[in-house]
């Protein structure tokens, strides 16, 4: 019964369009300077990730190329200032800290004069316990190892061979003398891969289930909604921690599966709502009036109309999953001991910061912040170009 609105501005479509939705979206996107800059950065990250995955760069991230805690020099731009404590002491200090924690003695290196020393020592002790994957209760060797002070021994042993190692590295070195730069590249590869793969998995799952629930309604909808409400009743972080607790296995694949299989609910709700909306649209009614089979309507008629929603959701999810992976790996439930990600780097970095070594924190935190920022800006631009109505929650 409605007359068309007297719209003040007609649809702005450039001359000579003759294109579909995506081409128009691209035109709008191209107009967004922030979007264009961010896509360049994201592409650069993806190239690095790709090269790293192929083994072209950072394949030797685990090699100890520098001295322990080698300071950063940024290829000579920065004059490396060695930390106040003697370089060589690092390993012993770590070993000592562990011992301190074990025996409950508040023995801090004399260089640090701090009224809060006692608390600090406690803090470090706790950190160590939680941080080293070996120290977890499930590992039968952990206790023995610790008793022997093996870590300290291993470190000292390594140190003896280190005479010829570099005294400074572009981004500095970690506690074992590994190059923070290559470590960051490898960590970026793992974290980004995990985030994107898990987001893809969750979106595929959520889209499929959401399409079925939204289009068919009735019993199908009831059952899928029930599954949704079950998953939704458990806070997300708790759910992935519970799954991580039962899965004793650690590693990239495990994290992808945990995140992907538990994270589909948001997509489900969104896509279900979209299908519900489109099911009532006249073009779907028209297709039904022709007797077009359901499968065709579901995936050929409606899916292209909601695919941009799914696309935006993938990138929103990817950001969320990258953050989740970082937390999981930091806590030791994420990537395996012999893998590196931004999360495990932050764990190393946390312990190093208290000893004054800030560079691994800066490298891992900075790389993550940069990537997530440009990726989010890209997502924003993409959403503006596709459909500004898509929400970031849920």
């Amino acid at each position: 019964m409605r007359q068309t609105h007297d719209s003040s501005v007609p649809e702005t479509i450039p001359e000579k369009s003759g294109n579909g939705f995506w081409a128009l979206a691209w035109l709008r996107f191209r107009d967004d300077r922030v979007g264009v800059v961010s896509i360049i950065f994201v592409a650069a990250f993806f190239i690095i990730v790709f090269l790293s995955a192929l083994g072209a760069v950072a394949s030797d991230w685990n090699k100890e190329v520098g001295i322990h805690d080698a300071p950063p020099d940024l290829w000579g731009l920065l004059t490396p200032v060695p930390p106040p404590e003697a370089m060589g002491n690092a390993a012993q200090r770590v070993a000592q800290t562990i011992k301190t924690a074990q025996h409950g003695e508040a023995l801090l290196p004399s260089t640090v004069v701090d009224p809060l020393a006692e608390t600090l020592a406690q803090l470090q002790g706790e950190r160590m316990e939680g941080a080293f994957p070996e120290s977890r209760v499930v590992d039968p060797l952990a206790e023995t190892l610790r008793e022997l002070g093996a870590e300290g021994m291993v470190l000292s042993a390594v140190e003896e061979k280190n005479a010829a190692k570099r005294t400074s590295l572009p981004f500095g070195g970690d506690r074992w003398g590994r190059d923070v730069l290559t470590k960051t590249i490898k960590g970026s590869q793992i974290s980004i891969t995990v985030g994107l793969s898990a987001a893809l998995l969750a979106t595929l799952l959520g889209t499929l289930l959401g399409a079925l629930a939204g289009y068919y309604g009735g019993r199908t909808d009831d059952v899928l909604n029930w599954a949704y409400s079950v998953f939704n009743a458990i806070p997300y972080l708790l759910l992935i921690l519970a799954v991580a607790a039962v899965l004793q296995q650690r590693g990239v694949m495990t994290v992808i599966l945990i995140l992907g299989l538990t994270g589909w609910t948001g997509v489900f709700r969104l896509i279900r709502a979209e299908y519900l909306k489109h099911r009532g649209r006249e073009y779907v009614q028209a297709a039904r009036a022709f007797g077009v089979p359901d499968r065709r309507i579901l995936f050929l008629h409606i899916l292209p109309n909601v695919s941009h929603v799914a696309l935006v959701k993938v990138s929103l999810l990817a950001v969320g999953f990258i953050k989740a992976e970082v937390i999981l790996s930091f806590l030791g439930f994420g990537v395996a001991v012999d893998e590196v990600s931004w999360g495990s780097m932050l764990n190393d970095a946390y312990q190093e910061l208290i000893l004054g070594r800030w560079w691994e924190l800066a490298a891992a935190g900075g790389a993550m912040a940069l990537f997530v920022t440009v990726f989010s800006l890209l997502t924003d631009a993409m959403r503006d170009a596709l459909d500004p109505k898509i929400r970031e929650t849920s």
Partner: protein, 580 residues
């Protein structure tokens, strides 16, 4: 062109050389209004009339000072003069003080124009407290007075109601009460009745007339409907593409329109009285008009009288026989109870081959549900539908498939009825292949081209997407898509309600032409009695899911039996100088 009757009156508002340009991406600014000049005198109703995109609403917003600052530009030469001052030179704060006190505005959609989370009383009192500094008690008393004046039943209780608890007509009354709160000198009404049913529209128009007389205020009434405007306007300004086409007293516009566009607007619209066999379209009046869209193949000169409908002569066999069809929706209430909301109650009627049955009703009458239920897009609750002798409600989905080809539908909203991600070609070819109207893609493509031609579209439409077409063109595509499977019955669900008057005429003519060529039967669902009269052989009137009256078209319009039909007919705006 000013008439002598107005010379005695004082000028209240004068708009001089108003232009409004909207900045946009990629393109030169869009000129929504170009050098528009007109005046509103005291105690006068001026109507701005035009189709969509004519700039009439933009003009109103410019007068109110409500145009978005960041995208709309008004050049220096433009002036909007009120009480000797140019409002365009005012500061934002000065203009704000005028709004609600000296000038007020009501809008097309009362539902969304009222704030949903505040009561009616609060929203009206807000104006009084702000502009008049009234106390809570005083403003409440005044609110009741106002609500009473605009004819809201039980004004005391209505104060505490939220907008969602009122009907559309009541919401618009509340909006009017709010606008009148400070007794403004000018009331701008932007399509205030377009979203309302025709009987409610009549009431609102009557209300505006009464209020205007009582308060001696001026009204700027904006509408696309010339006939409606004729009911209350003293003077009429006709606009097209942002420009004024004609200005004159209402009597003069209706009796001797000077401009060809005004003539076209008056003629394109089907009237209740005189039924031509073809409607004139805008091209018949305008040389400069939009590109020609009706190909020569469909000839038929306008005003071709005499081709009277072939009634009576040997009744055609029935195609569709509907017997006590029922459709209900179910809603939950309380713990377990489900209660039934009947949308269609026992509808029975017959449609003969090659004929057109109109289904008329206001919103909520169940006419659209009826159409969808016939096609089994909704599941019927009871009754029988015989199509060509076969009860189609009892068929399995597979067996019904052949009937899906034989019965088709065209929807109201041309923006939603085509899949936005399909090209026109894809939209056409899918049903052609599905129902094996052509063997192979190549044959299907050429058939699709054929149909595009028949509905008056160019070949290059084939590769375009729906958003590249106007509403009328999209409706042509939808028509081609439905007809390409050669149905025997086409259900047209308000196919022209979303279109401008001039485009309506084109589509209605096309429907008529195609029926003549194909012998297809139409079930024409509409709220518009004039359109139905033009197109249909028989008419069924529905109200609240019930069939009120069913008769052949001439009898129904000449001698309506039921009171409701009489009300409906009486509510249709007639403009001036046009007898019922």
């Amino acid at each position: 062109m000013t008439t002598s009757a107005n010379t005695a009156k004082l000028t209240l508002f004068s708009v001089e050389q108003l232009s409004v340009a909207f900045r946009r991406r990629w393109q030169a600014p869009f000129l929504a209004v170009r050098e528009l000049t007109f005046t509103i005198h005291e105690d006068e109703t001026v109507a701005l009339v035009g189709e969509s995109g004519s700039g009439k609403s933009v003009t109103a917003l410019a007068m109110m000072g409500l145009l978005p600052k960041d995208s709309a530009d008004i050049p220096e030469v433009s002036r909007i003069v009120y009480q000797g001052c140019d409002l365009l030179r005012y500061t934002d704060e000065e203009r704000r003080r005028l709004r609600g006190t000296d000038m007020a505005m009501i809008f097309q959609e009362p539902m969304t124009s009222l704030n949903p989370v505040f009561t009616i009383g609060y929203q009206i009192a807000e104006v009084l407290r702000l502009h008049k500094g009234m106390s809570a008690v005083a403003s409440k008393a005044r609110c009741i007075e106002l609500l009473d004046e605009v004819g809201l039943p039980e004004p005391r209780r209505a104060l505490a109601r939220y907008p969602s608890q009122l009907s559309g007509g009541q919401q618009q009354r509340a909006m009017i009460a709010m606008a009148l709160a400070c007794t403004p000198r000018l009331l701008i009404a932007d399509e205030p009745t377009t979203a309302l049913d025709v009987t409610v529209q009549k009431q609102i128009v009557e209300l505006l007339k009464t209020l205007k007389a009582r308060h001696r205020m001026s009204i700027l009434f904006i509408s696309h409907d010339l006939a409606l405007v004729g009911e209350l306007a003293d003077r009429i300004v006709v606009m097209r593409h942002g420009e004024m086409r004609e200005e004159g007293s209402a009597d003069q516009i209706f009796s001797s329109p000077q401009n060809r566009y005004t003539q076209a607007l008056l003629q394109c619209r089907p009237q209740l009285g005189d039924v031509p066999s073809r409607l004139p379209v805008i091209d018949d009046f305008m040389v400069e008009a939009t590109p020609r869209q009706t190909p020569a193949a469909f000839g038929g000169t306008p005003f071709e009288k005499g081709a009277k409908r072939k009634q009576g002569e040997g009744k055609a066999p029935p195609l569709l026989e509907v017997d006590r069809l029922r459709k209900s929706f179910f809603k939950r209430e309380g713990l377990w109870r489900r209660y039934e909301i009947p949308a269609v109650k026992e509808a029975s009627f017959t449609l003969r081959r090659g004929e057109t049955l109109g289904i008329v009703g206001e919103s909520g009458s169940g006419k659209t549900t009826l159409g969808l239920t016939l096609l089994r897009l909704h599941q019927a609750t009871g009754g029988a539908v015989h199509f060509d002798g076969q009860n189609i409600l009892s068929l399995s989905e597979e067996a019904f498939m052949t009937y899906r080809r034989r019965m088709q539908i065209v929807f109201q909203n041309p923006y939603a009825s085509l899949n936005p991600r399909f090209t026109v070609g894809q939209s056409l070819i899918e049903p052609i292949l599905l129902h094996k109207m052509a063997s192979g893609r190549k044959a299907a493509t050429s058939l699709a081209f054929d149909w595009l031609h028949r509905v008056g579209l160019d070949r290059d439409a084939f590769d375009k997407y729906p958003h590249e077409f106007s509403g009328g063109q999209r409706q042509r595509v939808a028509l081609a898509r439905a007809l390409a499977v050669e149905p025997e019955l086409l259900i047209c669900d308000e196919p022209v309600s979303a279109l401008d008057v001039s485009v309506q005429a084109q589509i209605l003519n096309l429907l008529k032409d195609l029926q003549g060529q194909l012998g297809v039967s139409y079930l024409f669902i509409s709220h518009d009695l004039a359109v139905v009269r033009y197109l249909c052989d028989a008419v069924m009137v529905m109200r609240d899911g019930e069939v009120v009256e069913i008769n052949d078209v001439d009898s129904l319009y000449r001698h309506p039996q039921s009171v409701y039909t009489q009300q409906l007919l009486a509510a249709v705006p007639r403009g001036r100088g046009q007898p019922a």
